[in-house]
């Protein structure tokens, strides 16, 4: 919050990533968010099917998946943002069950104790109002306070997220900010009420890499300072490697693999995770220099027409190598394991 902290954030300096305290926050106890067997369907279309995860204070869960994998739908369900959807299972936030909770209670939690930032900050900000007014409005929704105090809070938050001249910038409109600065404004708005959980849905996908690096540093810094629990939804394995403690890999609305980030990258066990990691070209000299990339054939399934059995089997190298066993096409593989959870009928070796 100090001005000097803000300044150093903005200077081009060489840094090593901040070491995050394991477990984080001063408050102890169970996970702040505990999701069990979450399913979401829209009419007859089931988009999320039995997903289980939890996040502790001070920790980051990365949810990785491609379009249609259900990663965004799961997180919107946590915030109770779906209309006309059937949500089953259990979502416990700080001891309170949210599935089936009255919408009034969810509204009180949303924006105050759970906050979310999205991929495109321009469509999440109102073009007509100044950013200071928008942050102040979000703050006053949850805190009884004067307009003036709320506006002060907005300036304070803009300073905290590293926006230079926060008092002047608070009086400007969203179009006067660059993409990276807008995402900082969204983060300021999300954090104004000091939430315990921040859900970030592809927050850096629309940004340039150098700006992405700034935003990821900002999220990591704020998380370390406040012991915030973060869910980072992304398709970028590099972003996950940079900031996540745990990783949940989703495919076709189900969990494919769920374990610690280091394990996912070092010893992936689900053929989809393995394929995904192998298909990404490297940045360093010497890796697969002139060879072909190891692509996964086919495309991700549509939730409208999911394949029977294991959703990944039509694209799975292990399924093909095992001469198309019937179990993969008939039965939905259960998630097995305690620390390293994998849903695969053919648990082969690690790669």
């Amino acid at each position: 919050m100090s001005e000097s902290g803000t300044v150093s954030e903005m200077t081009g300096r060489r840094t090593r990533p901040a070491v995050r305290p394991a477990g984080g926050g001063e408050r102890s106890g169970g996970p702040i968010l505990d999701v069990k067997d979450l399913s979401v369907s829209f009419g007859a279309v089931q988009v999320v099917d039995g997903v289980t995860f939890n996040v502790d204070r001070g920790r980051t869960l990365g949810i990785v998946g491609e379009s249609g994998s259900g990663k965004s739908v799961s997180s919107l369900a946590v915030l109770g943002l779906h209309r006309n959807a059937t949500v089953t299972g259990s979502i416990v936030f700080d001891g309170q069950e949210l599935v089936g909770a009255p919408s009034e209670r969810l509204r009180k939690l949303r924006g105050s104790r759970m906050a979310m930032i999205f991929q495109d900050p321009l469509s999440s900000l109102h073009p007509f109002y100044t950013v200071g007014d928008q942050i102040a409005e979000a703050y006053r929704l949850h805190r009884r306070t004067s307009r003036r105090a709320a506006r002060e809070r907005a300036v304070e938050m803009l300073a905290e997220v590293g926006i230079p001249e926060p008092r002047r910038r608070a009086r400007e409109h969203p179009h006067q900010f660059s993409g990276g600065m807008r995402q900082r404004v969204m983060i300021a708005m999300a954090l104004a009420c000091e939430p315990d959980l921040l859900i970030a849905d592809e927050p850096t996908t629309a940004l340039d890499v150098t700006v992405q690096a700034q935003i990821l540093e900002l999220i990591a810094r704020i998380q370390a300072e406040r012991g915030l629990a973060v869910i980072m939804i992304t398709h970028d394995l590099g972003v996950v490697a940079r900031i996540a403690d745990d990783v949940l890999v989703m495919y076709g609305g189900r969990t494919a693999e769920h374990t610690a980030a280091r394990t996912i990258f070092k010893a992936p066990r689900h053929p989809y995770t393995q394929g995904l990691l192998a298909s990404v070209p490297g940045l360093a000299t010497g890796e697969e220099d002139d060879g072909r990339l190891k692509a996964i054939p086919g495309s991700p399934p549509s939730p409208l027409t999911p394949p029977p059995g294991c959703r990944f089997h039509p694209r799975c190298a292990r399924f093909a190598a095992a001469q198309n066993p019937a179990i993969c096409t008939e039965e939905h593989p259960l998630l097995t394991g305690t620390v390293h959870k994998v849903a695969c009928h053919l648990p082969g070796g690690t790669q």
Binding site: M10, T11, G12, R13, R14, T15, R16, P17, E66, S67, S178, G179, G180, M181, D208, V209, T210, V211, Q212, A213, Q214, L216, E217, H235, D236, L237, G238, V239, V240, A241, R242, A244, A261, R262, F265, K266, G275, L276, L277, S279, V280, P281, G282, L283, A284, T285, E288, R292, L293, K294, A295, I296, P297, S299, P300, R315
Partner: protein
């Protein structure tokens, strides 16, 4: 100047595409021009892939569009196959249209939703008959029964394959690929990259590969040009650029890319640049990178650096990295 003259002499001999001092100034407010591309020069040999990388607004797509003449350059020249094509009129460009093709980022936006695959691929000039289109579909990994379908019936990866087939139909020598994989799912990107590489080997295609994903560019390209605010700041062989960057911007850009390995991420040095890229409407004086550069000194704020050869690549910096 002698450097420029030397390059000019080489250009006329063996380059398929040679771009010299290309500039594009868009009209801005109060008569102030926006210099989107500000003096870009490079050559591309037949069968070669040159990567053009940089962040949004650096002018990489504008450069590509000037080469295919979707935009009229403000100044500079474009030579293709030894011929100056900078100011050809549309009728004169027509035969060249089949030699220079383009693949776009958003496959759906670049395919006519009211045309079938056959109509799209055979093109307005009906270059191919039905069996020719089927051959092309097979070549890009689609099946013959797709021929009478419309773009909305395809996934993003399949639609991009149609876009590639359309670009291949007139048998081009050069394809400008403008972010061809960045709108696709991660598992599909590798398929399209492999397809582009196979086609290049089969037809001896040259690619100008415009992208912001540095790992894909490293995989695809022999030579890479890094752009910043309308200028090329560093150009050279892939290995020189990636393992030993000489321009501070290249170095910062590479260090900002997240690597899918938590152990590397936890230990590697990262240069966090300050602020955003400046607007091309109000570029800083001197070296355009100086406000974000950790090495910037007095000279950088007044004098535009001239490209010089440092360790086998060209770099435009007063104080290149050791």
């Amino acid at each position: 100047m002698s450097l420029l003259a030397e390059r000019e002499a080489r250009v006329t001999t063996d380059a398929l595409l040679s771009v010299k001092d290309l500039r594009m100034t868009f009209p801005g407010r109060r008569g102030k021009g926006i210099k989107a591309v500000d003096g870009v020069s490079f050559d591309l040999r037949a069968g070669e892939t040159l990567g053009l990388v940089g962040e949004s607004g650096c002018g990489k797509s504008t450069t590509g569009r000037m080469i295919v003449r979707l935009l009229e350059p403000t100044s500079g020249t474009v030579h293709f196959d030894g011929r100056d094509i900078t100011h050809l009129d549309p009728r004169q460009m027509l035969p060249l249209r089949s030699e220079i093709q383009m693949i776009f980022q958003d496959p759906f936006a670049s395919l006519n939703p009211r045309q079938t695959v056959q109509q799209i691929i055979s093109g307005p000039r009906k270059l191919l008959d039905r069996s020719g289109v089927i051959d092309l579909l097979k070549l890009v990994g689609l099946s013959p029964e797709h021929i009478d379908r419309y773009p909305h019936e395809f996934s993003g990866g399949q639609a991009q394959r149609i876009g590639i087939a359309r670009a291949l139909a007139p048998k081009p020598k050069l394809i400008i690929c403008d972010e061809p994989v960045s709108a696709l799912d991660v598992s599909i990107q590798a398929q399209i990259v492999n397809l582009l590489e196979d086609l290049k080997a089969e037809f001896n295609l040259a690619y100008l590969f415009i992208a912001h994903d540095l790992s894909v560019v490293r995989h695809m390209c022999e030579r890479i040009a890094v752009m910043y605010l309308g200028r090329i700041v560093e150009v050279g062989h892939r290995d020189a650029i990636y393992s030993d960057p000489a321009h501070p911007y290249t170095k910062a850009l590479l260090s900002a890319v997240p690597v899918p390995d938590p152990e590397v991420e936890a230990t590697r040095e990262r240069i966090v640049l300050l602020g955003d890229p400046p607007s091309p409407a109000a570029p800083p004086p001197g070296c355009s990178f100086n406000p974000r550069c950790h090495k910037a000194q007095g000279r950088c704020r007044v004098e535009v650096p001239v490209p010089t050869v440092v360790r086998g690549r060209q770099v435009a910096c007063h104080f290149p990295e050791e």
